[in-house]
Symmetry: C2
Subunit: 333 residues, 2 copies
DNA sequence: AGATAAAAATGAAACGATTCATTTACGGGA
DNA sequence: TCCCGTAAATGAATCGTTTCATTTTTATCT
């Protein structure tokens, strides 16, 4: 028993292809024919073949999303939000992972373009515009989340990483901290560099020197964050750790638990992106939050604007972050 | 500038459709022609249209996956694993969310079937076989994860929820607990009922009565778990809480933190599915773990077996769980 | 050079829908 | 009953590939 086609419906009902097609797309039919068709559809288990339809209409009502890894809750929260919003507008999201691997990400983009998605949302892992030459050929709107790369043909939504980082470090310094280690994520080059920039700027503003920088780089794994945190705690005299992204924050907290380190008595801690963390860990972490809901709303809004615009004009959006003060930073003045 | 087609390649190179197609699918060409074609592909930015290809080949090398919500880390971990394994075999995973909404899940299935996925992997939210009648018409293999529903045409991979629950509660009782509250998730009817069954059985085996049951049901949200945990802690004299799934475990831990409840002095706690939890929370939670890696490996293995089999014979697999003993259960004998 | 087998290349038909310019059916007024 | 305007139905052409039975080219051996 093969899949039924529109032609089978025609045979069953005596109607023509055009009529069947019209009905399937919401057109009016005479009551009698409508009934016959409904019955035939039911009986034959007919279902539109989107491949045949897409081939001719060239619209798939489909948005391709590339995230890094599903088990990165920060990104998954955004994507989940975006998916829901797209669904409400009749669009389907197709989600793929890059696994922090640029070549897999690019293959994902090609896969999507071959599949005629109407638009692309990407959490990119590349770092230079040469990585994204493929996008110059893409005639669909493209939206980067959490990363901005000069010269790439796409819309970008990022938060003010530099400013919030500067602000947070400045605040740390005002609490008397001078030996502040920052943990950066190699796999997220854009945000990492912006956050490092803010760190440096705060140092500068407070008259501290380059020799005072304490910079550690990890790749995007909890274990990696854990290991570096251990190094900082056991081998240096840092008074504060700034875990500058979600995964490293989890890694640091993990270490604090494992080694039974008292916070903030033994060391002060500042984290990034509170997904679950302050629910599960005590004392309440001092943490920087990005506006997930705003990011996803803006993403969807802009996407539909771009879809409807004839001459797409790409913009870059900068959203504000927030420092939530918990109980993990000591005043050592 | 429109998208280039194979016919454009023919015009550019003087070759025929058949030849171009053959090359695109890995066939041999004379050196001279190969070169010409490569150049033309490059120059015209040609990319295969998978819609046209899929229409005729009827194979899309694509697996549809429906999960509940991306921010449920337990499921996302499995899906992420599965995606990676499929990718390595040349298959693309298309991921969609049901949001714990059966009608959205069914629409997702329809969407996938229309899109000719080669197979389906579902973390279902339905509870009876009538919910899945649509699958009887599906001619592709279907795999349910974390749920088994009698009479549904699909393969199922589940863990031995009943046995591990019985074992864990039995162990709790052996530590002197008699007032044990279990939190069940309405949105995961299958696992919830199996786990409840194990709870009841342990009670029976230990000569306890039905009047001793303390059963609480929540829906799949951390807040809901939090609220019920609060109720248990503040309004009852329970000596132990069994949070019988991931989300409720997170909710319970959240509450313990908020109210500064001492564990296990004030109350003993048993959780389910340790994703991040024991990394972030202290004392180390006593928790039941499901074998994520085994689940995803088995899922992929069976998927490919089913894809290659002519007459698909669906099985149900039961994997073993593990009780990891931490420090959140007091011996009150 | 000719015969022959193997390798390459050809191109029409097919996949299952939508589109649109025409044709047919219907209902109401004179 | 006839006419006419509108609504409904028609069906050939089309989208961009793959397939496969044929034909053409190339290479090898006498």
């Amino acid at each position: 028993m093969k899949k039924a086609t529109m032609r089978d419906l025609c045979d069953e009902t005596g109607l023509s292809l055009g009529t069947v097609s019209k009905y399937l797309n919401g057109g009016q039919l005479k009551e009698k024919n409508r009934k016959k068709l409904d019955e035939a559809i039911e009986r034959l288990n007919y279902r539109v073949d989107e491949y045949a339809r897409g081939l001719i209409t060239n619209r798939t009502r489909t948005v391709g999303i590339i995230t890094t890894r599903l088990d990165n809750l920060f990104y998954s929260s955004i994507i989940s939000d975006v998916e829901t919003k797209l669904y409400e507008k009749g669009y389907a999201a197709i989600i793929k992972e890059s696994g922090y691997d640029l070549s897999k990400e690019i293959k994902g983009i090609e896969w999507f373009l071959s599949r005629r998605v109407d638009a692309l949302i990407i959490i990119p892992v590349g770092r230079k515009k040469e990585d994204y030459e493929i996008l110059n050929e893409a005639e669909v709107p493209v939206l980067f989340l959490d990363s901005y790369i000069e010269g790439v043909r796409c819309e970008s939504i990022v938060t003010d990483n530099e400013e919030i980082s500067r602000h947070a470090i400045d605040w740390l310094i005002s609490k008397g901290h001078k030996k502040i280690s920052i943990i950066l994520d190699k796999d997220n080059p854009y945000t990492a560099e912006r956050r490092l920039e803010g760190y440096k700027q705060a140092f500068k503003e407070n008259g501290m020197e380059e020799e005072d920088y304490r910079i550690y780089r990890i790749n995007e794994s909890i274990d990696s964050g854990y290991a570096v945190a251990k190094q900082i705690v056991t081998e240096t005299d840092s008074t504060a750790i700034f875990a500058s992204n979600y995964i490293s924050t989890v890694g640091v907290v993990y270490l604090l638990n494992e080694l039974d380190i008292r916070v903030p008595e033994d060391i002060s801690v500042l984290g990034f992106d509170d997904i679950l963390i302050t629910s599960l860990y005590r004392p309440k972490l001092t943490i920087i939050n990005q506006p997930i809901e705003k990011i996803s709303q803006l993403a969807v809004d802009r996407l539909f604007e771009l879809l409807s615009e004839e001459n797409k004009e790409y913009k870059t959006h900068l959203l504000e972050n927030e420092l939530i003060i918990g109980k993990t930073v000591a005043d050592i003045n």
